[in-house]
């Protein structure tokens, strides 16, 4: 069995609003799986149900073969979680936070190695409040790795970051992927999905409307006879921006 995550017929409603409307998908071991969609499509609710943080109304989630509803504690040990706008205690340094999070999994972690992974070694003695937006997100990922998870969930990790910080974070995510971790990432930036994801599911109003590798989806669209009205430009404004301001990070 090559699927590390199997979601079948997952449903969640809040009153009259159907947030997640019976979705199913599998995530293969070692891939980066993207969940795309506009705000309110149900991406975060889906992730939170998989992460044991929200009860399911119906359906089933199997993580490494373990039922999330039946054995949430076991699942928590297997997953790494980066929550949208997640934050950490104020008055503990990054090193202390990582050690403490490690203890929550009964592990004594190598904080320096984790900080290296997120390129934050020089911030080891800083508090989270002293970090820039990109550094915070990278730290959040480092904290999600303390238990050496089977699968890593990243909920809109690059929202609100400048282009440099976003690209830098992509680098961190690619490296984690190259170490063999499975990653599930939500985003509403399409170029990010194209850069990072082996496969994407596009959600709209609680449903999955497409599920395939990005290139495959583009091919399907072109096969339907789609043509962009304008001639494809060879560079975008973002390329101009990065050309003028460079790729180096602007955070201290």
């Amino acid at each position: 069995m090559n699927s590390v995550l199997e979601v079948s017929n997952l449903k969640k409603r809040y009153g009259d609003l159907v947030a997640v409307d019976g979705i199913s998908f599998n995530v293969t071991r070692g891939e980066v799986f993207g969940i795309l969609g506009p705000n309110g499509a149900g991406k975060t609710t889906t992730l939170e149900m998989i992460e044991t943080l929200r009860p399911l109304d119906s359906g089933q989630v199997l993580l490494d073969g373990i039922d999330v509803q039946r054995e949430p504690q076991k699942v928590k040990r297997l997953i790494g979680v980066q929550l949208q706008s997640s934050s950490f205690f104020d008055k503990l340094t990054l090193t202390e936070l990582l050690l403490l999070f490690g203890e929550m999994y009964g592990r004594q972690v190598d904080a320096t190695a984790l900080l290296d992974e997120a390129e934050l070694r020089d911030k080891a003695k800083s508090y989270v409040v002293q970090l820039s937006g990109g550094q915070k997100q990278r730290f959040s990922i480092a904290a999600a790795l303390v238990n050496d998870p089977v699968i890593l969930f990243l909920d809109e990790p690059t929202t609100g970051l400048d282009p440099q910080a976003r690209r830098h974070l992509w680098g961190v995510i690619r490296r984690i992927r190259s170490e063999g971790k499975t990653i599930v990432i939500t985003t509403h930036y399409m170029e990010e999905a194209e850069e990072l994801c082996d496969r994407v599911a596009i959600m709209d109003s609680g449903r999955i409307v497409a599920n395939a590798p990005p290139q495959e989806l583009v091919r399907q669209l072109l096969a339907k006879g789609f043509k962009k009205e304008r001639v494809e430009r060879l560079a975008s404004l973002e390329d101009v921006f990065l050309d003028l301001t460079g790729h180096s990070l602007r955070e201290e």
Binding site: T52, L83, D90
Partner: protein, 352 residues
């Protein structure tokens, strides 16, 4: 167990790195005591006299009562002498059983040795009153006032105030510390992040509570220490008993804090609720002033305030040297409040 210890260590670190919290819980109460130490509430314009009348003749007492300069209370001899020794009386007049309006008995007047001004004035007033009794009867032999100096522990306002302020700061840091602390953890998604780990949530609560009780213990030690060193606190009690009573009170107020953090969604909601609960107690539980001046019904109600039990318990131990068995009513009161507030806290507390 290891996780509990690590969590405790972490929350303790967080506490001591939070400068504002240290100032609020440790320094502010001391500063209040310091301010109040300039206020002289003791002996303003009158002499407190205890009268022990062994005789059926009440002429003398009724002659003394209207005198404005005297504040008179009647009681049993041993009670009145105890009060004199505690500094509650400046003088105690003992009228012998044989006393008659017309006669030449010897009356004993015990004087508080440390209040010469008051006792001199008081003695003069009493002597004049006795003379007046006899004067009406012309040329009869006079009553003799036999005086005796007594060394009293003259408790000052600080002795009354400091245990009260200690109780107050236990209440404030319990209610406000927990309520604000947890609402912020909740609002900023920190609790949610913790829920994503397999950590047992009760371990986290345990660490929070023990850290705060440890802080409370430090509060007791600092207040009593500073009181004795800088404010002439007449501390004769047991520190351990102070800590035990302080802890019981601490648990009540921590529970209130947890309950409030469960009910409120933001800091803006916590503040008025916390004030609504703590302010009446602050004013009416005898922290700053004795509750004896409250009207009867208010006195009866405030008897049951948790802060009243805590302040009274701490005060009796600190300045009267009360043992735990002397403060059983307070211990029972606090225990009942623990049951009530803990129940509410468990019902109301929410992780998200």
């Amino acid at each position: 167990m290891r996780l509990k210890a690590k969590l405790m260590l972490a929350s303790f670190k967080m506490f001591i790195r939070q400068r504002e919290a240290i100032i609020w819980t440790m320094l502010l109460p001391l500063f209040m005591v310091f301010l109040f130490s300039f206020v002289k509430f003791d002996g303003i314009g009158h002499v407190t006299v205890g009268i022990v009348n062994h005789s059926p003749d009440t002429t003398l007492v009724s002659l003394l009562r209207p005198i404005q300069a005297l504040r008179i209370s009647e009681g049993q001899e041993d009670q009145e002498l105890t009060r004199l020794k505690k500094g509650d009386r400046s003088m105690v007049l003992v009228i012998p059983a044989s006393f008659q309006t017309i006669g030449h008995d010897s009356l004993t007047l015990y004087l508080n040795a440390e209040r010469p001004q008051e006792t001199q004035a008081g003695t003069l007033i009493l002597q004049r009153a006795l003379d007046e009794l006899v004067f009406q009867q012309n040329n009869l032999p006079r009553h003799v006032l036999h005086t005796e100096l007594v060394n009293s522990r003259n408790l000052t306002y600080i002795d009354f105030l400091l245990p009260g302020i200690l109780a107050m700061s236990i209440m404030q840091s319990g209610v406000f510390g927990v309520a604000f602390g947890f609402v912020i953890l909740k609002k900023r998604g920190i609790l949610r992040r913790l829920l994503a780990t397999p950590m047992n949530t009760s371990d986290f609560i345990f660490a929070q509570v023990t850290t705060r009780l440890l802080v409370l213990m430090t509060q007791v030690l600092i207040m009593v220490g500073a009181g004795v060193l800088f404010f002439h606190l007449h501390f004769i009690g047991s520190l351990l008993n102070m800590i035990i009573v302080g802890m019981l009170g601490g648990i009540v107020f921590l529970s209130i804090g947890f309950a409030l953090s469960g009910i409120s969604k933001s800091e803006d909601q916590v503040a008025p609720l916390a004030n609504l609960i703590t302010l009446p107690m602050l004013m009416l539980s005898g922290v700053f002033f004795s509750r004896s001046n409250l009207p009867g019904f208010a006195h009866a109600i405030t008897n049951f305030f948790p802060l009243t039990y805590l302040a009274d318990g701490l005060r009796s131990i600190a300045i009267e040297g009360a043992t735990l068995s002397d403060v059983i009513p307070q211990l029972i009161g606090l225990a009942v409040w623990i049951v009530i507030t803990l129940f509410i806290a468990i019902k109301a507390f929410r992780w998200e």
